[in-house]
């Protein structure tokens, strides 16, 4: 159990600290306290570990004393056999002590003339840290592995490293077992030659750091520097630095073979930094409760096939698929591309065949990542210009995945697939129409590539919630029929759930403050019946994004006590808006244009503005460039509406909100709409008609003026009188 681990950790730490004390004492006697130590040509952070954790700038032997003394002070006795006292905190302190003692020891070793043997990296400079670190913290490099000791065989060593390389994970090698090292195994296995330069090794993502367990400190005091350089934390801000490495550096340790006290002590240092340790030894006790590290602290995996996947799962390393391996170009630029009939090799859906796509959650044990299966005939079996049925089923698994996120992922399929050159994708769910161009077919595009794209993009964009993605594609009519039935069932359940969702049925809304980068006081409040004004985020998206990034721009807002149900004013929302608008906005009414309306950033799809003479409101969409009846263009309106100010009478909204039963319902709702551009009206006609029917004004849609009937407020009024628009019968809007 953990007690054994921490007993060994603390025992190991005592050994390291004792060594450091003895070595320091000897060096002091030999060279005196003024002797310079460290790697000052390679780093501006003195001894980086004591610099970060203790705020020390150790440059001389004399100054090193404080570091070693502090390491001693951190040491506690090993846990007793019976009636032991809590040891986790003591063990983590021992980890800190070990890192400080080890750092002192490598510095002292250098003073004593030790030179890192050829082929090993030794101290890692700030330059390397800057070059690679940025990739590590911004996620381009998914993480790094620190391998302690040689693997039980060269084959296992090579396989492990290859698996890591495949995922762009940087691997460091250190320590030895009876003289044998993982570096030798790399050479034997042909990963690199014995005389390979260090540059070559860095390029290969496999870096031998040093042949002793002591050398592990080079990796740790390298990665802690990222908190200073990239995290902007100051020396001595230990907590912030350690939280940074825990959060941002996706590192883990792999310990081959039975773990000795000294390795355990170093491992505790890694754990303190948030890096878990994966062991292949059955004698290692696992520590599964989370909290110190993001997931488990120590995990045992004796199946070497599963070793790297276990590491990735334990550290929550997010696999990044850099290049989408398909034979055609892939870019956002291809999204709007049409494949005309004469250019088409094969098509799916519309009136030509059954086609369906859907995403659903599966248990982690059922999903093998990147498992792409195709059944039925591929493109090459159909006659040019023919059609095939198609089902695309995406299975996702993840510790944070929830069923509510399925639709969100599914809505992205259109974007993801249509970015492939020569693949046209329209519609969604079982209303698909896809075409493959002759050119794409000739270039080698086949069904499985759709899976390749989806796997890569889901990992790319939804790494926070998805750990594994598998795709099943079929063109077999029976299978497609069965899958379509299964999918329709899922869609119905999903729709029922969302359709049933009203602002009243939830007690939490979500904020969106993404745009505070340029509209610092703006807070978007997203409710089930009012999506974000940019049209990109609905309530479920807000919720999903909160799950993905709990400290991100989408935060839950507890509605709290209702102040006014009609205006949509709640105590909790007011409090939230006040707090997040930098105390600028004190009130917020979700359903009103005239009273404490929502602020607008600038991303709105449409602007709603009051037309006082017409006793109603006009709506203008971004695409409409002409002057509107209020005398302003969309651009003019945007400048008075945007920027995060609360401007009664003007508000930016998302298109979908226009047809929500909650659309400005405090001011009279859809009945107030007196003008909108024709293009917009046509786009939203069906949904607007539904709302018009709901409020008992079935002719409303046609009564709303467009630029064809009116271009001034007076003309609007004349039109309203002519058609008998219901806005005229409403109370005054002011």
């Amino acid at each position: 159990m953990s007690k054994q681990v921490f007993t060994q950790v603390i025992r190991g730490a005592h050994q390291w600290v004792k060594q450091a004390e003895e070595s320091l004492e000897k060096a002091l006697a030999e060279y005196g306290p003024g002797k310079r130590i460290g790697w000052d040509t390679q780093t501006s952070y003195s001894l980086p570990m004591s610099y970060s954790l203790m705020g020390l700038e150790v440059k001389t032997l004399g100054e090193l004393k404080a570091q070693v003394e502090h390491a001693r002070e951190l040491l506690k006795p090993i846990p007793s056999d019976e009636l032991w006292l809590p040891y986790l905190g003591d063990g983590l302190d021992a980890g800190a002590a070990t890192m400080l003692a080890q750092e002192a020891l490598v510095a002292l070793r250098t003073v004593n003339g030790y030179v890192t043997p050829p082929g090993w990296q030794g101290f890692i400079s700030d330059t390397i840290m800057r070059e690679l670190g940025i990739q590590l913290v911004d996620g381009r490099m998914p993480g790094f592995a620190l391998i302690l000791g040689p693997a039980p065989s060269t084959e296992i060593a090579v396989r492990t490293v290859r698996e890591l390389q495949k995922r762009s994970i940087l691997t460091f090698l250190c320590a030895n077992r009876e003289g044998r090292t993982a570096r030798e195994q790399m050479v034997e296995g042909g990963v690199f030659n014995d005389d390979a330069s260090l540059k070559e090794c860095w390029d290969l993502y496999v870096v031998p750091v040093g042949p002793d367990s002591l050398d592990a400190i080079y990796v740790l005091n390298w990665s802690i520097r990222s908190a200073l350089t990239f995290g902007g934390h100051k020396r001595g801000e230990a907590r912030k630095c350690l939280d940074y490495t825990k959060r941002r550096i996706h590192a883990f340790g792999i310990a081959f073979g039975e773990i000795s006290d000294d390795w355990y002590a170093a491992g505790a240092g890694a754990i303190l930094m948030g890096y878990p340790v994966i062991s292949d030894s059955t004698t290692t006790p696992e520590i599964r409760p989370t909290g110190v590290t993001v997931r488990e602290e120590i995990v045992v995996q004796t199946d070497y096939e599963q070793l790297v996947p276990t590491c990735i799962d334990t550290r929550a390393v997010k696999v990044k698929v850099e290049k989408i391996d398909i034979p055609v170009g892939y870019a956002a630029a291809f999204e709007g591309e049409r494949v005309r009939k004469e250019d088409m090799h094969v098509q799916f859906g519309y009136k030509y065949s059954d086609a369906v796509e859907y995403v659903h959650t599966a248990d982690g044990s059922e999903v093998r990542d990147a498992d792409i299966q195709v059944t039925g005939p591929d493109f090459d079996t159909v006659k040019e210009g023919g059609a095939l049925p198609l089902s695309v089923e995406v299975l996702v698994a993840g510790r944070k995945m929830q069923r509510d996120f399925e639709g969100i992922l599914e809505r992205q399929i259109h974007r993801w697939l249509s970015h492939a050159m020569g693949f046209m994708h329209t519609g969604q769910r079982d209303q698909l129409w896809c075409r493959v161009s002759k050119k794409a077919f000739a270039a080698g595009l086949r069904l499985r590539h759709l899976g390749t794209i989806l796997h890569a993009k889901i990992h790319d964009e939804y790494a926070g919630i998805v750990d594994k993605v598998a795709v099943r594609i079929s063109t077999d009519p029976e299978t497609v029929r069965a899958k379509a039935a299964e999918a329709r069932n899922a869609f119905r359940l999903r729709d029922d759930r969302i359709a049933g969702m009203t602002d009243e049925s939830v007690d939490t809304f979500y904020s969106c403050t993404i745009c505070q980068s340029y509209a610092p006081d703006h807070v978007c409040v997203i409710t089930p019946q009012r999506l974000g004004l940019c049209g990109a985020y609905n309530w479920l998206d807000g919720r999903a994004n909160f799950e993905i990034n709990p400290t991100g721009p989408n935060q839950p807002i507890a509605k709290g006590r209702t102040i006014d149900v009609g205006k949509g004013e709640w105590e909790g929302v007011n409090r939230f808006v006040y707090q997040y608008s930098n105390h600028k906005i004190e009130r917020f009414c979700a359903y009103s244009l005239m009273e404490a309306p929502m602020t607008s950033c600038g991303c709105f799809e449409c602007i709603v503005a009051v037309l006082p003479l017409a006793n109603g409101i006009m709506i203008v969409n971004r695409e409409h460039s002409a002057v509107t009846p209020c005398g302003m263009t969309f651009g003019d309106l945007a400048s008075v509406t945007g920027g995060g100010a609360q401007t009664p009478g003007f508000v930016g909204v998302g298109r979908l909100y226009l047809t929500s039963p909650k659309f400005l319902s405090a001011d009279g709702g859809a009945k107030r709409i007196v003008w909108m551009p024709k293009g917009l009206k046509n786009d939203i006609r069906d949904r607007l008609q539904t709302e018009a029917d709901r409020i008992g004004e079935p002719d409303l849609v046609d009564k709303i003026a467009t630029e064809e009937e009116a271009s001034t407020e007076e003309e609007v009024l004349a039109h309203l009188e002519k058609v008998g628009h219901p806005a005229l019968a409403l109370g005054p809007i002011f």
């Binding site: 846990p79 019976e82 009636l83 986790l88 905190g89 302190d93 980890g95 230990a238």
Partner: protein
């Protein structure tokens, strides 16, 4: 006479009870028997003695008078009585807190050689919290300003208690809305007593909300100040080992027992009993040493900070004296039986009372003052050495029963043991709750009561909770009960805890049941909950946390107050015997239902400890469901109700 097994489940207690029976010495259990059937009107809160047109007793059931002479109904009388109990409980803890602050001032002014600032880190943390400048000032100067500021909290006439700022916003809002945020401590007690006098407040709802407000001045006022300042003055506790039960008394040493509540004297006694000169004096009289041990909460105070052994809990105060091995029993305030003095007739034991507030007939009264604490402590040790020479060895009978325990957990310690010095954090605890390894946290606290077999309810309830993955935190006599029962050991996790809780205990090296100190230290539970809220992920206010409280063997008015401040803070509480409110259906309903509306928590009464534990678990499961937390990670003996319902549907 009640059967032997009806009296206690503690073998040491039973051994001593047999001895008492043989010697025909009366104990609390015998005196309870002598009471025969206790008064129903008193038990149900229906007896009013607030004016002397009465005493009146009323009923709701129409079988007697339905109103007192003044016209007060059962609802009014019951609510008024409850407020009085709560004012008394608040007064007890708060007066205790006040004495500690006064001792802090004595220390800060350098007026005592024994009181010093031993909890520097806590002093600094409090100074920062209360906006006291530390720049260029000595600890004593800081302590002086802090002490004065805290002392003002007692007599404050306007404004709100400063510590209430520690509560989540939702709780502060609840208080502001329902009867007001607590103001000065003494003021709430005085107002509470005033409004319950003849012809003042008669609206039961108004009275009960005032009771909640008064109780809050205990939890967030007197008790919390008592805990904080004790940590500053006597040092912050850290996990340590100790032993518990009557077997800690030593045959060949001078035995001094402290009993009561305030650590001001007991802490000095620790130093005095270790004083080399006094030890030499003891040896000269034939003793091998001086053994200090304790009963009740003053024992918990010095256990938490010095590892001083505990001889027993509330119902063992007489049994300890039955051993004939106690040379001096030193008492201060609260929970001290007047009956103790009787034992001086049968044994050589000297009972010494020390509080200027509490004298006992026929005892040596050595009133204790902060400035002369050291002299008093030495005098007490000398009295004990003297008594030792008169100990009648023939009468000595010490049960050979004791148990090891780990104590010393606090709000601060929890984050240290979970993250070490560099990353102290509640994250692992919150993570464990979120993941379902730990289902929730329960505070099991309170007294012994001879109406229940001693310790039985504490042990049964806590065992049921931990086997169902609920981490238990404890204080007071309940903690001592579980200490004796072996639950405060890390090994108990292996033996009694569910698999998830076991994993957490193993990872951290903690017992499944954590001892947080004395009964004023229930305030530590409040501040620990605030830390859990602040860490995030398991609810942003107390009433959303998957936590519950209980006092299965309660007997004191202080317990009522504690229960009420927990409920008013949003933490639901289950107690063993009902509050004295059953005479009014309105009041019962208000406490067990309506309070939910005001504070998000309620009272529940359930004498069966296992059934009570399950009610707590149901409550925790409901809170988990509200937070969309998953069901327990591993199979549990008592499964969540909604899961069972789903399975049968």
């Amino acid at each position: 006479m009640a059967e032997r097994k009806q009296r206690s489940v503690d073998p040491a207690s039973l051994e001593m009870l047999d001895l008492a029976a043989a010697a025909e010495i009366q104990t609390a259990w015998d005196r309870l028997d002598a009471q025969k059937t206790q008064c129903r009107f008193g038990r149900e809160g229906l007896c009013c003695r607030h004016c002397f047109m009465g005493p009146c007793r009323v009923t709701e059931d129409g079988r007697g008078a339905q109103q007192g002479v003044c016209g007060a109904t059962a609802d009014t009388i019951v609510a008024r009585n409850l407020l009085r109990h709560i004012a008394a409980g608040t007064a007890a803890h708060s007066d205790h807190g006040r004495e500690i602050v006064r001792a802090l001032l004595v220390a800060a002014e350098g007026k005592s050689p024994v009181y010093q600032i031993r909890g520097r880190a806590k002093l600094h943390a409090l100074a920062d919290e209360f906006g006291i400048s530390r720049e260029g000032r000595s600890d004593n100067e800081i302590a002086k300003e802090l002490g004065k500021l805290l002392l003002d909290e007692f007599g404050k006439q306007d404004g709100e208690l400063v510590n209430t700022r520690r509560a989540p916003e939702a709780q502060q809002k609840n208080w502001a809305r329902s009867g007001g945020v607590p103001r000065g401590i003494d003021r709430e007690v005085v107002t509470g007593l005033h409004t319950t006098t003849m012809g003042v407040d008669s609206d039961p709802e108004h009275l009960l909300l005032a009771a909640a407000r008064t109780a809050l001045t205990d939890g967030w006022g007197g008790s919390m100040i008592g805990t904080d300042v004790s940590d500053v003055l006597f040092g912050q506790p850290h996990p340590l080992r100790a032993r518990v039960n009557l077997g800690v008394l030593k045959k060949d040493e001078v035995n001094i027992l402290v009993h009561g509540h305030e650590p001001t004297l007991s802490d000095v006694m620790v130093a005095a009993t270790r004083d080399p000169a006094l030890l030499a004096e003891a040896r000269a009289k034939g003793a091998k040493g001086i053994n200090l041990a304790g009963i009740c909460c003053t024992a918990n105070e010095i256990l938490m900070r010095h590892g001083v052994p505990i001889a027993g809990n509330f119902l063992q105060q007489e049994l300890a004296l039955m051993t004939g091995a106690v040379d001096v029993m030193l008492v201060d305030v609260q929970c001290v039986f007047p009956a103790l003095t009787e034992f001086q007739r049968c044994f050589h034991t000297k009972v010494i009372s020390t509080s200027p507030k509490a004298d006992f007939r026929e005892t040596l009264h050595l009133p204790f003052h902060e400035e002369t604490a050291w002299e008093t402590a030495k005098q007490i040790v000398r009295e004990a050495i003297d008594a030792f020479t008169r100990r009648e060895q023939g009468k000595v009978h010490i049960p050979d029963i004791q148990q090891g325990l780990v104590a010393g957990f606090t709000k601060e310690v929890v984050s240290e043991i979970l993250g070490g010095r560099y990353r102290p954090s509640y994250r692992p605890l919150n993570d464990a709750i979120q993941a379902g390894r730990i289902r929730g946290v329960a505070g099991v606290v309170g007294c012994n009561n001879p109406k229940f077999p001693q310790d039985e309810c504490h042990l049964a309830m806590v065992k049921e909770l931990i086997r169902n993955e609920v981490l238990v935190v404890q204080t007071g006599c309940s903690a001592i009960a579980c200490g004796k029962g072996g639950l405060l050991t890390p090994e108990a996790a292996e033996r009694y805890a569910g698999k998830g809780l076991q994993e957490v205990c193993r990872a951290v090296g903690i017992p499944p049941v954590l001892h947080l100190g004395s009964c004023v230290d229930n305030s530590r539970i409040l501040t620990a909950c605030a830390e859990m809220v602040a860490e995030g992920g398991i609810g942003d206010s107390f009433d959303k946390l998957p936590v519950a409280g209980a006092a299965p063997e309660w007997m004191s008015e202080k317990a009522i107050t504690i229960g009420m401040y927990f409920v008013a803070s949003g933490i639901s509480v289950v107690i063993g015997q009902s509050l004295p409110v059953e005479g009014s259906q309105f009041v019962v309903n208000f406490l067990t239902r309506t309070l939910e509306k005001h504070f998000g928590a309620t009272w529940a009464f359930e004498p069966d400890p296992v059934a009570a534990a399950r009610r707590m678990i149901d409550h925790i499961d409901r809170k988990r469901a509200d937070l969309s937390l998953p069901p327990p990670m591993y199979e549990v003996p008592y499964a969540p109700q909604h899961l069972e319902a789903a399975a049968t549907a």
